[in-house]
């Protein structure tokens, strides 16, 4: 560990804190319709798609629109991938993507997961990368943002009690046109300046300095890289994702990527505060998120900087010095070193992004446990764009409900009752994730086709499977990549996990927003449990830990924790 490493972590948090109110304030103006600088493009899109932008939807219609859009987008992507060999912009002559692979990829990108059981540069044509994968990066992010806005509107709505939460099409289009597209253009150009490539030229063969031949994979990378981070998507253009120097060439590009993937989820806490008229409530939620993030990054940094018993036995200088990074550098890049790799690993899993700048599979047992835990806490530590806040609001509702039980009052949240049906959809949204993770992992390690995919044996093998189901059901997309996830069994299992893990919680969020929008809400909620300040922050953090940690502790003990203990035992011998 070095002072530079800690300062780097502090710098990222400071930049994020500085940008959050700016972007959050802008998001509020986008969703209440007062920002109108792109009104002509927006109206053109409505006219071409036949959308009545003035019409507000009941929450059931809103949820139906979300579902229809996702079904259509998934099918379009599936078709495109199956047909890519016949379509233009395929200079490397990629063959059609196989049926289970295309299903898994379509489901994965439509659900903002971007789990990749293929290597981009060996599978996808340029047209597929752009037309389907870049497109999905935008709209899956936009759909997540729309759902969060609908939920917050439901909480905030006071004037009527009719279950109206907004217009899904409008929220989606405005998310894309006003937020994701302009930010992506700026970020993409900054990334190209740093060295990220952006070209339609074919792969290029060069003669190396020693006279060998090296073929260099190229492509329109920066445009996809930008939205992959901003939309917390995470699917890499190349197999090595943001560890590839063409995706993430410098410490600057790494900082830009980190801030980009944290920015919108972080700014959504401001949307919550401002739209409900309780800015301090939004900031309380932000502080809880930032606290989990800080503890996570610090733990991963310490674990990775300490290295492993194998490295020590091989003779590696584990303490960092002025001219070498020290620690566990297996699966890490020199330009990032330990601190920036730990920062990235935790940020990408906390936010449901899933892009990686180091290989999580080769992290130390405890260093790998942290990203896994970040996913398993429900990806509410900033979380995915929109859905991160939605997931956090499940826990807020749960915390309020628990507090209500403890003090013996009817639980109310910002003047609205958290009653039986509200808590039912909350529990559905919260519990589907552990059910998929634990059920899926148990199935995979019980059948030969599942075990055949393991890249490592013993406790680490279990961690690989557990990570894979956490990542897909949680719509993260990062991996302990030693697992060969490209088999038909895993493609189908992961495809289903992403779909159920995405739409059950999202529809629960819309329903919760709808139920709350059906209450006019009392203004005299002042006697209710306060939802700002340290007391509520601790209660919220406790609720997240209670559910996440207790659900997964037994299986974590068999995976990463067992591996850590066996490593300690090996060190003593």
């Amino acid at each position: 560990m070095t002072i530079h490493g800690w300062l780097q972590i502090a710098l990222v948090l400071a930049v994020l804190l500085g940008l959050t109110p700016l972007v959050g304030g802008y998001l509020v103006r986008v969703y209440d319709g007062s920002s109108r600088w792109a009104i002509r493009l927006e109206r053109l899109i409505y006219r071409l798609a036949g959308i009545d932008a003035e019409h507000e939807q009941h929450w059931t219609t809103y949820g139906g629109a979300l579902l229809s859009f996702s079904v259509v987008a998934t099918l379009l992507t599936y078709l495109m991938l199956r047909l890519q060999a016949m379509l233009p912009l395929n200079p490397a002559d990629m063959a059609a993507v196989g049926p289970t692979q295309a299903f898994e990829t379509a489901a994965s990108f439509a659900t903002n997961t971007n789990w990749q059981s293929y290597g981009g540069e060996t599978t996808m044509s340029y047209l597929s990368q752009m037309l389907q994968l870049t497109f999905q990066n935008f709209v899956s992010a936009g759909a997540g943002m729309a759902v969060a806005v609908a939920l917050v509107r439901g909480i905030a709505r006071r004037d009527r009690a009719d279950g109206i939460v907004g217009n899904f099409w409008v929220d989606l289009v405005r998310s894309v046109v006003y937020v994701l597209l302009p930010l992506s253009v700026i970020l993409a150009l900054l990334l190209v300046h740093q060295g990220v490539i952006q070209t339609f030229d074919a792969y290029r063969a060069v003669t190396t300095l020693e006279g060998g031949t090296q073929t260099i994979a190229l492509g329109p990378v920066a445009s996809q890289e930008a939205i992959k981070q901003l939309g917390t998507n995470g699917g890499g253009f190349f197999n090595a994702n943001a560890a590839h120097p063409f995706e993430n060439p410098t410490p600057w590009s790494n900082l830009l990527s980190l801030v980009a993937l944290l920015l919108i989820p972080s700014a959504f806490t401001v949307v919550l505060g401002r739209m409900t008229g309780k800015p301090r409530h939004g900031w309380t939620v932000w502080v809880v998120m930032a606290a989990f993030w800080t503890v996570g990054v610090s733990s991963a940094y310490v674990a990775e900087a300490q290295g492993t018993s194998l490295l020590a036995k091989a003779g590696v200088a584990l303490p960092a010095s002025a001219d070498q990074p020290g620690g566990n550098m297996e699966g890490k890049e020199v330009r990032f070193g330990i601190s920036a790799s730990a920062l990235y690993a935790v940020s990408t899993t906390a936010t449901s992004t899933g892009s990686v700048n180091a290989m999580h599979d080769s992290f130390t047992p405890l260093g790998g446990l942290v990203p896994l835990l970040m996913i398993e806490l429900g990806e509410v530590v900033f979380g995915g764009v929109g859905v991160g806040l939605g997931g956090m609001l499940f826990f807020v509702a749960l915390a309020v409900f628990l507090a209500g039980l403890m003090i013996g009052r009817t639980p109310t949240y910002l003047g609205k009752r958290i009653g039986q049906r509200e808590i039912q959809v909350v529990m559905l949204g919260v519990l589907i994730f552990p059910a998929l993770v634990l059920g899926g992992s148990a199935l995979a390690i019980s059948v030969p086709v599942g075990l055949a995919g393991l890249g490592n044996d013993g406790a680490h093998g279990l961690s690989e499977v557990l990570y894979a189901f956490s990542s897909t059901a949680g719509n993260n997309g990062s991996a302990f990549a030693g697992l060969s996830g490209g088999s038909a069994f895993y493609n189908v299992a992961f495809g289903l996990a992403t779909l159920v893990g995405r739409f059950v919680p999202m529809l629960s969020m819309v329903a919760l927003g709808g139920f709350l929008a059906e209450q006019a809400g009392g203004s005299g909620g002042e006697a209710a449990f306060p939802v700002t300040g340290p007391l509520f922050g601790l209660l919220l953090a406790g609720t997240i830990l209670l559910l996440g940690a207790l659900t997964f502790y037994p299986v974590l003990a068999l995976g990463p924790i067992a591996e850590h203990l066996s490593m300690l035992a090996a060190m003593r011998n």
């Binding site: 300095l209 020693e210 410098t250 003779g315 591996e563």
Partner: protein
Amino acid sequence: MFASLLGTAFRLAIVLTVCTGLLYPGVVTGVAQLLFPFQANGSLVEHNGRVVGSELLAQPFSEAAYLHARASAAGGGYDATASSGTNAGPTSSRLRDALTARALVAESLGVARGEIPADMITASASGLDPHVSPANARRQLVRVARARGVPVASLDTLLGRYVEPRTLGVLGEPRVNVLRFNLMLDSLLSIR
């Protein structure tokens, strides 16, 4: 209701595909090629009038007179169409065997046990890491100097100029670009 929603969904999906899947990458490509053509096309570097690689990608070096890049699991090694790490688990026998074999190479350079730079015997994440740490480079200079018949001290001075520091003093790690250093060696010194 569902049928009309599906219709709208289909039309919107097509419109947004054009906006985000064609126009957006097209515009970014145009502007990038105009403003930053060197970076946009892969930071390709020339030597004696021919392109010898990308300064951002590791390429295989095995001759004694060159700095060697970090170990690579990209394809058969340094394959820039198949980026990958080893994904070997931290306690796996696969990693133990690889580390043991590479530690022998470090030993042949006279690096004492317990002093091997952390990036010297580990494989990178992408398999294409273009950098090594300054300590790693310095340890290799012994071999390079012998092959080129020059004193280590003079190479060490040159190396000092090729160390890229942390950005803003805190971001990333100090590093040496292997290809750029080797190109400099070739233009200044012949191979004996």
